[in-house]
Amino acid sequence: MRKLLSANFSRLWKNKTFWLCMGAMLVYALVYMLNGVRQATVSLTQYHRSLDDYYFQFALAIGMFAALFCSMFLGTEYSDGTIRNKLITGHTRAGVYLANLVVTFVATLLMIAVWLVAALVGVPALGFWEMGVPHLLGYLLTAVFFVASFSSIFTFISMLSANKTVTVAISIFLFLGLLIMASMMYNGLQQPEMASSVELTMDGGMQMGEQQPNPAYVSGAKRVFYEFMLDFLPTGQGILMWQLQIANYLRMILSSVALTIVPTVCGIVIFRRKNLK
């Protein structure tokens, strides 16, 4: 596998999609952080803003970058037929699969690294992290694991679909689908248990009505399920990280480990049986 990794990484450093993703991440980080600095420093602002509020925005978008990069980078192996060269020269299918997984994982981590470094542009105005080093490390570790699960899922799709266009479409739609699903669950969990309506008074004023149970409030088993899914899905983890609401590091990391191992094992088993052309 060492030979395959060497070949894959050598191709990575010359890959246009990779550098486009890295460039986009850099620009995204700079624009987002500078905009955050502007928001935080206008004189009328009534909220206290810190670096933490902006620093983990990448967690929401990295899945899209992973989907795009994995499907383009690995899809080329099929569209150019070069995956054949690896098998003809005696590499095992498991080796080919794992080497591809490793390179997509590292590439996605590097994209995050670009964000994390570029986002430090906000430090002079916003100061350093207020969450403390243990939480910062916890967040970063969680990010590493959910990036692994993203890589595993998109490598699975890219290795089993021989059509590059289909691979790109499936990967992006899957990411968007997971993101929408996680957003809906997150929004459901944000609903207050009790809500009060605003009533207009006879003298033209307004007053708060009596507190009543909120019908949109998610409770019981459904709430437990939503909470679990937000911790389980990489997109859910991304939303919680972006909102600085990570509560259960261990459950998130274990979920990511499961979402890395299961697609990889299934992918290798199916790829070993796949008829390649």
């Binding site: 030979k3 070949a7 070069t82 003809i88 020269t89 005696g90």
Partner: protein
């Protein structure tokens, strides 16, 4: 005879379609093995199996003495290079970049041989031009160069002349001959351009409808396809006596038709037949070719 590749009753099915039906094939060391068959006969399927891109449904093959069911088949595959259908090259890389990539995949310690390989396939001048801007012939030659990285002993080429112009076909033919003669590389080449194949192959395997119809050496094929003169006479018994007297091989086809396998002196033959009271009605020189041999084997149209 030593064989680099042998298949034994190799079969491959895709759902309800059986692409290969118990194909047995023997590729001798040092041969240029022409694998002949119509489109859809099963040539590419067999090549895919040998290259490890697909698993056989039943049967087995042996590559350099290693069975496909053994783990060591992976090591045996390191002794081969192949182009299956289209050249496997990164289109956004240069010729040299593609070879460097293949050298890394093979784990070769240095890139020393790349210049020689590019020279060998006539791509040394391509510089920074990316493969996507190459002509079809250049891509095919780059594909061969990639397949040759690591000095394989067996080269498998699936329809290497497909889509090439006449000059490109000549270049590929000369390259294959050079590799076989100078580097002693065994070549398995599938094609349905029979005329082209006949200029290269030392052995043939004819496949039709997923079955190996016949394996034959070029020498045997030449004997089977030898030039003959078809004659129509009034008495083939008299003709037989004359041809026996001239020590010429012949074959009686009917009461008035026979084939003689030699260049004939027409006036001498006519005079001898006259003495036997036999009339020579017509003579026609027949030039049997690989194509007519193939047609006689598998029947149908002449487009293999």
């Amino acid at each position: 005879m030593e064989y680099v590749l042998r298949t034994n009753a190799l079969s491959k099915s895709y759902r309800n379609f059986q692409a290969l039906k118990g194909v047995s094939m023997n590729v001798p060391q040092g041969a240029i093995y022409g694998f002949v068959g119509k489109n859809g006969a099963g040539k590419t399927t067999l090549i895919r199996l040998i290259c490890g891109m697909q698993e056989p449904t039943s049967g087995e093959y042996t590559l350099y003495g290693r069975k496909n069911t053994q783990k060591e088949i992976v090591k045996a595959r390191r002794r081969m290079g192949a182009i299956v259908e289209t050249p496997s090259i990164y289109l956004d890389m240069t010729a040299e970049g593609n070879l460097r990539q293949q050298y890394r995949i093979l784990g070769l310690p240095s890139f020393e041989g790349i210049g020689d390989l590019l020279q060998l396939v006539g791509l040394a001048h391509t510089g920074k031009k990316k493969a996507k801007h190459f002509s079809l012939g250049m891509r095919q030659r780059l594909g061969i160069a990639v397949a040759l990285a690591g000095d394989p002993d067996l080269l498998i080429l699936d329809e290497p002349a497909n889509g090439l112009d006449p000059q490109g076909i000549i270049e590929i033919r000369e390259l294959i001959l050079r590799l076989n003669r100078e580097r002693q590389i065994t070549v398995l080449i599938s094609s349905h351009i029979l005329d082209e194949l006949s200029k290269l192959a030392t052995h043939y395997g004819f496949i039709d409808n997923g079955c190996m119809v016949r394996e034959i050496s070029a020498a045997e094929l030449e004997a089977a396809c030898r030039k003959c003169v078809r004659m129509q006479v009034s008495d083939t018994k008299a003709l037989a006596r004359v041809l026996d007297g001239l020590d010429i091989a012949y074959k009686i086809l009917s009461s008035d038709t026979a084939d003689a396998y030699a260049k004939l002196n027409v006036s001498q033959l006519a005079s001898l037949l006259e003495k036997e009271n036999c009339e020579l009605i017509s003579m026609q020189e027949r030039d049997e070719s690989l194509e007519s041999y193939y047609v006689s084997l598998v029947g149908g149209d002449k487009n293999a």
